[in-house]
């Protein structure tokens, strides 16, 4: 058994978040926190508001009520690029990569926020731009090595099998050197072996890079094995919060989500 970095103080606090699209209520007063170095899972049936929750955290949606505090800074309204600049990176349920670009170039886009040189300097490949490019390339190569995707470095993403694309997307998020990593169904549609690989990568990201991870996942065994604590949503409300064992025993969860008792 490995012992991971100690789980610390809460880095993300979600308080009483309420989100509605017209008359459709997606989240009604959800509160929970995520501690440093923790793997936190959000589960729930379809339409429970899981992806909406992630979208609120990284600023795609602005909640009508409630606050999200990241590293102690409370905010009601934040834009995605601000969230990214603060150290929040994410992957998407439906892969959102540049399909015509190579794996390497896709990962380089993950470094965008860290690039200092302006367009002209980069276009002319001047001294500072060159140095910067090399620096970023080194970081990206470290991610490629970490995720074991050296063999597809120069392959256009659109030509890769689905499981690998998912891995590349994780890679792009990692290239941003995030403190908080949001993963929206990282294992959807994968076969057993791909799931095992992905689980190992998530654990390694958490362990070696010290990133805090929030993940949405449908595969119960994955959630139970990986996460330290689990939030359960149903119809936009939080119905349970605790360790995987506690959640598994929770009557409301069994009724709402897991179906008849196992």
């Amino acid at each position: 058994m490995t012992v991971r970095s100690a789980i610390g103080v809460p880095v993300l606090e979600v308080e009483d978040v309420f989100l509605a699209f017209g008359g459709v209520v997606a989240l009604q007063g959800v509160s929970f926190d995520v501690r440093e170095h923790e793997i936190r899972a959000i589960i729930g049936p379809n339409g429970a508001g899981k992806s909406s929750m992630l979208n609120v955290i990284n600023g795609v949606y602005h909640p009508q009520r409630g606050t999200v505090a990241f590293k102690g800074r409370k905010r009601r309204k934040v834009d995605p690029y601000e969230a990214a600049a603060q150290g929040i990176a994410r992957t998407f349920q439906n892969i959102a990569l540049f399909r015509g670009m190579s794996v390497l170039d896709n990962l380089m886009t993950g470094r965008y926020l860290k690039m200092k040189c302006n367009f002209l300097e980069q276009a002319l490949y001047l001294g500072p731009a060159r140095r910067e490019e090399l620096e970023h390339r080194e970081k990206v190569e470290a991610v490629i090595d970490f995720l074991e995707i050296q063999h597809v470095r120069k392959t256009p993403v659109g030509r890769l099998p689905y499981g690998l694309q998912k891995r590349v997307e994780l890679g792009r998020a990692l290239a941003a050197e995030p403190e908080l990593l949001l993963l929206d169904e990282p294992m959807a549609g994968m076969n057993l072996e791909e799931k095992q690989d992905m689980s190992r990568f998530i654990l390694d990201v958490n362990d070696q890079m010290g990133a805090t991870v929030v993940l949405i996942e449908h595969d119960m065994s994955v959630v139970m094995d990986l996460s330290d604590r689990v939030v359960v949503l149903d119809y936009g409300s939080k119905i349970a919060d605790g360790t995987p064992e506690e959640v598994r025993e929770n009557k409301a969860v069994i009724d709402a989500y897991l179906g008849v008792a196992h």
């Binding site: 490995t2 012992v3 470290a142 050296q150 063999h151 120069k154 070696q208």
Partner: protein
Amino acid sequence: MPEASQDTFARLLLHQAKVRPGRPAIREKDLGIWQTWTWAQAMEEVSSLACGLAAQGFQRGDRLAVVGDNRPRLYWAMMAAQALGGVPVPLYQDAVAAELAFVLNDADVGFAVAEDQEQVDKLLENVPQCPKLKRIYFDEPRGLRHYGQRELMSLDALQALGRELAQRNPGFIAAEIDKGRASDIAVILYTSGTTGNPKGVSQTHAALIQTARVLVAFDGFTERDEVLCYLPMAWVGDFLYSYAQSLVAGFCLNCPESPETVMTDLREIGPTYYFGPPRVYENILTQVMIRIEDAGWLKRGMFHAFMGLAKRVGMRILEGKPGVSLTDRLLYALGALLVYGPLKNVLGLSHIRVAYTGGEAIGPDLFDFYRSIGVNLKQLYGMTETCVSVSMHASGEVKLETVGRPMPGVEVRIADSGEVLVRSPGVMREYHKRREATREAIDAEGFFHTGDAGYFDAEGHLKIIDRAKDVGRLAGGALFAPKYLENKLKFFPYIKEAVCFGHGREEVCALINIDMPAVGNWAERHNLAYSGYADLASQSAVCDLIRECVDKVNRDLSADAALRDSQIRRFLILHKELDADDGELTRTRKVRRGHIAEKYAQLVEALYSGRTSCFVETQMRFEDGRVGTVSADLRILEAKVCGAPEARKAA
């Protein structure tokens, strides 16, 4: 060059570090960039590893297991062990923990170097069963940060220990190298073992170095050569053709970034010589064919037109033989510009001076393909026990069906039984701890019994037909050489493996594995949907495709009087791929016919009983070691048999 002072691998290393300190010794692609170590740097690394091992209590004669992909530090660890008078024991990196246990105990391994977490896990699993295993060192620390085991240490830490010792005692390593003798055991290589447990082959420094010297002289290798080491380190092929030859000739070893990137790395490095078993060449060709069939009509047309020309005249041009018209020469030059050159470039074969294949017979079309586009591919024959090199084609004297003349210094004799016997400086000292087996293999006159059946042709070339014990007879008395048939089948890109049965029976039947990438691609082009290997293998269109291949083999066989009766009557396509993890193939991917006959006895019986289908359930082992079962209803297919009508009626 005073060769006497370079009679051990450690002294060779010292020599290279002195003579060409600034030349590249080894390269590895790391984080996307090729990192180079010179001979002087390599010497430094090896010294610190050796001193570190000594500080940890490594004694002369101790064994150091090395397990992992080809990595510079793993090669250096072997050199370090040899510098201390110890014996490296390279292990197959894809072996499961239980297989490692046998070798670790058999070789009394006390120290081990592992590449990464995966290998460390396997070794740690074996610590309780292998009481002698005291220390495990690892190269790649990823995932191992929180492992608390006392046995574990990183190679970085080991080298730091070594540098401390070297500072206290600067003459230590030189003194240790001085104690080495050419007659010491340099390495124990475990043979894959087509039957029973693997056997450790103990080779001396003298045998290996002498053999390597002959090889280096034979094809004129220099410090300017480049080789990509991608073959398992536990295989004699890698030990001799990469490790030993590099130390003798002073050329550079290039370690691929990962096993999946070999094709890209090959292209980036552009090695000058290349060694691989036929299946590697076959995989490359299969990939080329798949891509050509997916290409546009213009490219496809050009490829086929120029390949036709190459087939006609390419080999004669390569060998500098007369009888090629000027028009053909000009056309061939055009082809080199438009097709052969770009093709070789993509395959990373642009700079190849010489390429070897061995270990198995190579298909004629495969062999001709490479030679016709100007790759000087040659066959060699040998085994771990003889440091490979029994015989080899000399450039300009290449004949497909033979394995060339015996190498200088090698005596080959054919026993009355047809078995090939070999006496040479490269013949092993002994099978480790197996006196009985050694006595059986090496006779009183010092000839090693290879177990292969063969003969010399009129020009003095050695021709190998099959394993002596595998050559059988059909019930009708006709010759039955299963490997010959299997190789013929396997040459079709759609067939990955085949196992033929017929010894003592009326007729020949076969079990066949389809080649997943090739057939999968074919299915896609024909709009066939499939979910996986078993599903694809059971489709009737695929059955017809394979039947065509078998029919073609039968047509070829019918032309040969001796083999006419070996035509394949019935076959079936297996529901799972034959796999080393299930004991069906050896680690070098040779079929274990006996084991398969036993495991699939039910299927073999069905083939001979005239039934049209057979239900089967098989255990299979997944990569993580778990065991599951697969089941399927397999169809038995009839093939077309040509000629000799009277024999067919009887069946």
